[in-house]
């Protein structure tokens, strides 16, 4: 009964979505206020219906209802409750429902936080989001129904993949989807602006906070995916340039470029068409990611069970949404005005150079990901494109971008002087170079890459200090504290986010440069020392979990004779799918991670064991978290809080129509 209610709720949601996607947009085009006002209640209605459907599926999982095909294939009676619920998004159909649910959350958020927008704009934005949801609901109801029944019901379920039975599973997909789907808001803003012809700096100002919040979620989502792979997969890696990882990284790159380009459009009214194109690109890459994961077109450890019918549906949907947007862009964008002028050497110029670099990086990741497919489609052979390619290509593109990160904030708007900038930054550059060249020796090993990484990270930090000092000197106010407090949150957000990048670079440089790995055969009582830490193997015992049995090792860790910790790596066998899994033991720390992974039992009771010492690895994800916090701080800037609170009177639609658009 409950699954049928959920199914019916989705059908109703589709009807509401069709209404939401058509009436308000038409109403905005002809200036009919009543039609436009359909948008808000429609969005909220959709949210309630999808929420209902989501809860019905959750109930089916919680209740172990194996007469629902999806529940039977991804759950099991022995699966603990929290994983049963996380299994909602454990496979294709349910993850689509999660997508839809998160889309409805964003829709309802837009319906609440858009009171300061002109009515026509809001109607169009919600209308476009409605159209997107039509696509997803139709997809679910035709070829990917999570509520499909299994008659006769299974006695027990096939269980969730053991790799997914982990806290990361509970948080990573929702975070990631909040980002992916969040870019649909920026996309809808862009389409709404193109449809209405009101492409001015105000559009950029409205669009920015939504873009930034989506970007924050995306940052956390991607970072979590990487962190989860690190501790779950058991081989100590954290990024593999796997097609699905790339599918989440590309929208992030586009979103980062978009945030920076919106800064130009907001402040100086320039490059509106480019910002619109980036917004379309970011969401297009989200949709492309959805396609790549579910179509079977690329092999990936992440891919859902594939079905050519599903792949075709998504491809057609992709073609319609993105193709339509790009045609609209080609038609309307040329009419957009230019905005304020600026020199090539200026803050605007540097922000746009940042964009060029980020988009080139994005293009490279896309090229590398799709290239095997290109060659295969042209019958030119089968190749693999993996980490060696991406690492080789990505670094030269990102290095200039990081250098710009130091120069850009100091450059003046409109026109800046390169010699003057060099003068202001000479101290920062000297300190960065000197430290980067000498520090590796102190740390134990010098390679060009380690030096480069340290140079970039220290450059970011020193240039932030130079910029801060200059602003403090110029600021009004008596006390240092007063002047610091007077600086807008948007500035501190930028500082924090850029610091996050520096932390990230430090983490990557130190881990790649200084990590140590040892593959050992250990008998009980034997020790091994890496990175100054001594590991003693104290034996194996059998441990029972709710749906698995494990051989658990005990490793006592000490440093210079002092006890540090005890670590318990496991080798688990899950009953239902009879799969063996390695659960590595990690002792995280601010300056290093210790990582122990059990291999197999060898003759004589010994075990093969892999030990790692990974310095600064948590700075990788810590840096990402700081980046996201920077974004949150920027969004909490006064001007957004004031704008939201003020609830400016919406400009009547008829007046909007009359307004000329060329600025």
């Amino acid at each position: 009964m409950i699954p049928e209610i959920g199914h019916y709720a989705l059908i109703l949601a589709l009807c509401v979505a069709v209404v939401q996607g058509s009436l308000p947009i038409y109403g905005a085009a002809v200036g009919n206020s009543m039609l436009m006002s359909v948008a808000k209640p429609a969005a909220r209605g959709q949210f309630l219906l999808v929420l209902l459907a989501f809860c019905c599926l959750g109930y089916a999982f919680a209740d172990k209802d194996f007469s629902v095909l999806y529940v039977a294939s991804t759950s099991n009676s022995q699966l603990p409750l929290h994983y049963r619920l996380a299994a909602i998004w454990g496979a294709h159909e349910g993850s689509l429902l999660l997508w839809m649910f998160i889309l409805s959350i964003w829709m309802v958020a837009v319906s609440f936080f858009s009171t300061h927008l002109p009515e026509a704009m809001r109607a169009r934005i919600l209308g476009v989001m409605g159209l997107v949801s039509v696509g997803f609901l139709l997809f679910m109801l035709t070829v990917s129904n999570p509520f499909e029944r299994l008659i006769p019901a299974a006695i027990d379920g096939r269980d969730l993949n053991p790799l997914l039975q982990d806290p990361g599973m509970v948080i990573h997909p929702p975070m990631l989807y909040m980002g992916y789907v969040g870019f649909s808001v920026a996309f809808s803003f862009a389409i709404a602006a193109l449809l209405g012809g009101t492409l001015d700096a105000a559009w950029a100002r409205w669009s920015r906070p939504w873009t930034t919040v989506a970007w924050c979620f995306m940052t956390v989502g991607v970072a979590m995916g990487s962190g989860w792979a690190y501790y779950e997969l058991g081989w100590g890696g954290w990024w593999f340039w796997d097609p699905v990882e790339n599918a989440s990284f590309m929208p992030w790159l586009a979103g980062t470029a978009l945030m920076h380009s919106l800064a130009v459009t907001d402040k100086r009214g320039g490059f509106k068409a480019w910002s619109v194109l980036l917004a379309i690109m970011a969401f297009s890459l989200s949709l492309l990611g959805t396609f790549l994961v579910r179509s079977g077109v690329l092999t990936s450890v992440h891919a859902f069970a594939t079905d050519p019918k599903r792949g075709l549906f998504i491809l057609v949907f992709l073609a319609v949404v993105i193709g339509g947007s790009l045609i609209l862009y080609a038609w309307r964008a040329p009419r957009v005005g230019l905005g304020g002028g600026f020199a090539i050497i200026s803050r605007e110029g540097m922000l746009l150079a940042n964009n060029v670099l980020l988009v080139a990086a994005l293009g490279s990741v896309l090229l590398g990901t799709l290239y095997p497919l290109f060659l295969d489609a042209l019958d030119l052979g089968k190749i693999s494109v993996g980490p060696p390619y991406f690492d080789t290509v990505f670094l030269p593109l990102m290095t200039p971008a990081i250098f710009l990160m130091g120069i850009g904030p100091l450059a003046q708007w409109k026109k800046a002087s390169l010699p003057a900038l060099a003068l202001r930054l000479r101290w920062a550059f000297a300190v960065s170079m000197a430290t980067a060249m000498t520090l590796p020796f102190a740390l134990g090993q010098w390679t060009p890459l380690i030096s480069l990484g340290l140079l970039l990270a220290i450059w970011i930090l020193t240039t932030i200090l130079v910029d801060l000092r200059e602003r403090l000197v110029q600021a009004e106010g008596s006390s240092l504290g007063g002047r610091l407090a007077a600086m807008p949150r948007a500035y501190w957000g930028m500082v924090l986010a850029h610091c996050g990048v520096a932390l990230f670079i430090v983490g990557v440089t130190m881990v790649k440069g200084f990590e140590v790995e040892q593959d050992l055969r250990m008998n009980v009582g034997e020790t091994a020392t890496i990175g100054g830490y001594t590991f003693r193997f104290d034996g194996i015992q059998e441990v029972k979990g709710p749906n698995y049995v494990a051989a658990q090792g005990t490793f006592h860790v000490s440093q210079d004779g002092r006890d540090v910790t005890v670590m318990y790596p496991e080798k688990r066998r899950y009953f239902v799918q009879n799969q063996t899994m390695t659960e590595a033991a990690i002792a995280p720390g601010l300056l290093r991670d210790l990582y122990v992974s059990l291999g197999e039992q060898l003759e004589g009771g010994a075990w093969s064991v892999r030990l790692y010492h990974k310095p600064f690895i948590d700075w990788i994800w810590g840096g990402c978290l700081v980046m996201a916090l920077g974004g949150v701080l920027a969004v909490s800037d006064r001007r957004y809080r004031l704008a939201w609170r003020r609830k400016e009177a919406a400009v009547p639609a008829a007046t909007q129509m009359a307004r000329q658009t060329v600025s």
């Binding site: 081989w235 890696g237 593999f240 796997d242 320039g270 092999t299 990936s300 450890v301 230019l338 002028g341 600026f342 020199a343 090539i344 110029g349 746009l352 150079a353 060029v356 670099l357 988009v359 080139a360 990086a361 293009g363 490279s364 090229l367 590398g368 290239y371 060659l375 030119l380 052979g381 089968k382 190749i383 693999s384 494109v385 993996g386 980490p387 060696p388 390619y389 080789t392 290509v393 030269p396 593109l397 040892q518 593959d519 050992l520 055969r521 250990m522 008998n523 009582g525 034997e526 020790t527 091994a528 003693r536 193997f537 104290d538 034996g539 005990t554 291999g599 093969s608 064991v609």
Partner: protein, 146 residues
């Protein structure tokens, strides 16, 4: 567990591999090779039986003093370029390797051209605006004259 220390130092665990130097070379090679069974892992990390067999083959080739190039050629002759995670330089992969830098070049050029073009357009406009202002100024001066 209380361990009674022996007269010698506590037992040091031995490396898993028989020959660490060979193993180090194997690792350097295997990290760039693709496991053909679990196609999303490197040859170094995969536990598939074929991966173990291939690692054994590579070890034997290293012991026979074959160069890295020869070992890679051996594998490519049997499994094709698919087994390499670093795509080889070939006619068909030129676009792949050159592409990113081409993109950067095109983007940078495009940006410079776009900025120059808009400079010209705006200077054209501002000139006539300046003229407008001049005219307005002259007109206002005219009306202010007694």
């Amino acid at each position: 567990m209380l361990l009674v220390p022996s007269l010698a130092t506590a037992y040091e665990a031995q490396p898993l591999a028989a020959n660490p130097q060979v193993e180090a070379r194997l690792k350097a090679l295997a990290v760039e090779l693709r496991c053909l069974v679990c196609q999303n892992q490197t040859l170094a990390d995969s536990n598939a039986p074929l991966a173990e067999d291939l690692r054994r083959e590579v070890r034997e080739m290293i012991a026979k003093d074959m160069s890295d190039r020869e070992i890679i050629d051996f594998l490519v002759a049997r499994y094709g370029d698919f087994v390499l995670y670093r795509p080889p330089w070939k006619l068909t992969t030129t676009l792949l390797w050159v592409g990113p830098f081409l993109l950067l070049g095109v983007g940078a050029t495009g940006l410079v051209f776009a900025l120059r073009r808009r400079q010209k357009k705006l200077t054209d406009v501002t000139l006539s605006e300046e003229e407008h202002n001049r005219v307005a100024q002259l007109l206002s001066e005219g009306t202010n004259r007694p």
